[in-house]
Amino acid sequence: METLDFLFGRVMPALNEGVVVSIQLIVPSALLGVFFGIVIGTLRVYGTFGLDTAANAYAALFRGTPLVVQLLFLYYGLPNIGIYLEPYGAAVIGFALCSAAYHSEYIRGGLLATRRGQLLASQALGFSTWQSMLSIIVPQAVRRALPGCGNEIIYLIKYSSLAYIVTCMELTGQGKMIATQTFRFSEVFLAVGAYYLLIVTVATFLLRKLEDRLRIPGFGHA
C-alpha cells in the first residue's frame, strides 16, 4: 500500500514531467538526425570535391566514439573556447549529430542498392542531376533505409537518457533525483524502465505502421 502511494503520489508526477522533456528531446533530434543523415549519406555516395571524404570522416568519427563523450564535449568542452550551450540545446545537437551519422550509414546502403539504370533512365528523360537525386534516387534510398533508420530512432529514444548527464532533467534525471532522495532505487527505476518500455513499444508500433504505409509491392527489403 505504501509502495503504491509512493509510486502514484511521488514517482509518477515527477516522471510525467520528465517524460515530456524526454519527448521534447527525442522528436526534434530524430527529425534533424534523419534530415542530416540523408544529406550526409548522399554526400558519402555522390559527393565530389572532397565532400565525400569529409562526410565519410564525419560518420566514422561520430560512430567511432561514445555519445556520452560527444555530449560532454558539447556541454563542458565548448565553454573552453567560449561557446556556452544550454543543457537542452547541447543534448538535442549531440543527439542529432550522432544519429545523423548512423542514419547516413543506412541511407548510404540504400543508395548503393539503387540500380544504375534508375539514374540512367531519369537522365534520358532530361532530369538534371539534382532533380534525379531529389525525385528518383533519394526517395528510393530512403525507402530502402527505412527499417534501419527506424531502428536508429528506437536507439535514440533510449540514448535520450544520456541528456541527464548534461543535467537536462528528463525521465532518467527525474528518476535519479527521487531515487537519490528516497534511496528507493528499485521501485523508482523499475517505474522509469516501464516508461521507456512504453515509449519504445509505441514507437516501434508507429514505425512499423509507417513502414507498411510506405511499402511498395516488390520493392526494397526482401
Binding site: 534520358a124 532533380q131 528510393q140
Partner: protein, 251 residues
C-alpha cells in the same frame, strides 16, 4: 520534306580504359526514318545509342539535333537535348518506387514543370496508347516484363521526343512476351516516329527498317536496305550473321 536530318552523328568515337568501343561512327536519321542496328554483342550498338542521347559522352565527334550541335558542356543544353531524344532501355529501368502512371508523369512534372493534373492526364493517354490504362496504379514489380517495357515506351513518348532510340527493347523479355512490345513499336513506326533501334530479332528488323546498319568492333561495317543485305543468298556480313543466329535457334 526538308533535307536536314533530325539527328546527325558525325565521326563519334568512344573508348573505355584505352579500348576503343566506337571508332569514328557516322549516321543520319531523317524525319520518319527507321534505322536498325544489328551485329554481335559488344559490337558497339548500345554505346552508340547511349552516345546519341549523351548518356555517354563521346570522346570526339559531333552530334546534331535539327541541325544544331549540342554543347555537352552546358548542362542546360544537355538536359534540353535529352528531353527531345527518347530512350528505351533493354532492362526497362522503370522507377521502382513509382506506379506506372507516376513513372510516365514524373518527368512531365519535374522536368517540364506541368501540374500534377496536366501530367497525369497526359500520362494516362500515353498508357492507353500502349494498352495499359488498366495497369496505371500498378507498381513495376506487379507488371510483366512486356508490360514494363510498354510503360517505359509510354514514359518516353510523353516527353514528345523528336526521335526515339531503342536499345534491344525485347532482349530481356521471355519469348512469349516480345509480341506485345513489338506490336507497340510497329504502331509507333507507322505513326511516323523517327527511330533508331538495336535488336537481335531479325524478322522484326527486316519488317521495320528502312536501313540496316551492321556493327562490329565499334564500326558500322555494312549498311543498306533489308532487301539488299538480306536478299536470299546475299554474300553480306549481315546475311551471314543472320544465318548463324538462325542456326543457334535464335529469332
Amino acid at each position: 520534306m526538308e533535307n536536314t536530318p533530325i539527328l546527325r552523328v558525325e565521326n563519334v568515337s568512344k573508348s573505355y580504359n584505352g579500348k576503343a568501343v566506337l571508332k569514328s561512327v557516322s549516321l543520319e536519321l531523317n524525319a520518319g526514318q527507321h534505322k536498325v542496328l544489328i551485329g554481335p554483342s559488344g559490337g558497339g550498338k548500345s554505346t552508340l545509342l547511349h552516345c546519341m542521347n549523351y548518356l555517354v559522352t563521346p570522346d570526339s565527334g559531333r552530334i546534331q539535333l535539327d541541325g544544331r550541335e549540342v554543347n555537352a558542356h552546358s548542362r542546360k543544353e544537355l538536359y534540353a537535348f535529352r528531353q527531345q531524344v527518347g530512350m528505351i532501355f533493354q532492362e526497362f529501368n522503370l522507377f521502382d518506387h513509382l506506379t506506372a502512371l507516376d513513372n510516365v508523369a514524373i518527368a512531365l512534372r519535374k522536368v517540364k514543370g506541368q501540374s500534377r493534373k496536366e501530367a497525369e492526364t497526359r500520362a494516362m493517354a500515353e498508357l492507353e496508347r500502349v494498352g495499359l490504362a488498366d495497369r496505371a496504379r500498378h507498381y513495376p514489380a506487379e507488371l510483366s516484363g512486356g508490360q514494363k517495357q510498354r510503360v517505359s515506351i509510354a514514359r518516353a513518348l510523353a516527353m514528345d521526343p523528336k526521335v526515339m532510340l531503342l536499345d534491344e527493347p525485347t532482349s530481356a523479355l521471355d519469348p512469349e512476351l516480345t509480341g506485345e512490345v513489338v506490336s507497340v513499336i510497329r504502331a509507333l513506326a507507322r505513326s511516323g516516329m523517327t527511330m533508331a533501334m538495336a535488336t537481335h530479332q531479325m524478322e522484326f528488323a527486316r519488317a521495320l527498317a528502312d536501313e540496316i546498319l551492321f556493327m562490329q568492333g565499334g564500326e558500322i561495317i555494312e549498311r543498306g536496305s533489308p532487301a539488299e543485305l538480306l536478299a536470299p543468298g546475299a554474300a553480306t556480313r549481315t546475311a551471314d550473321f543472320c544465318r548463324r543466329l538462325a542456326e543457334m535457334g535464335g529469332d
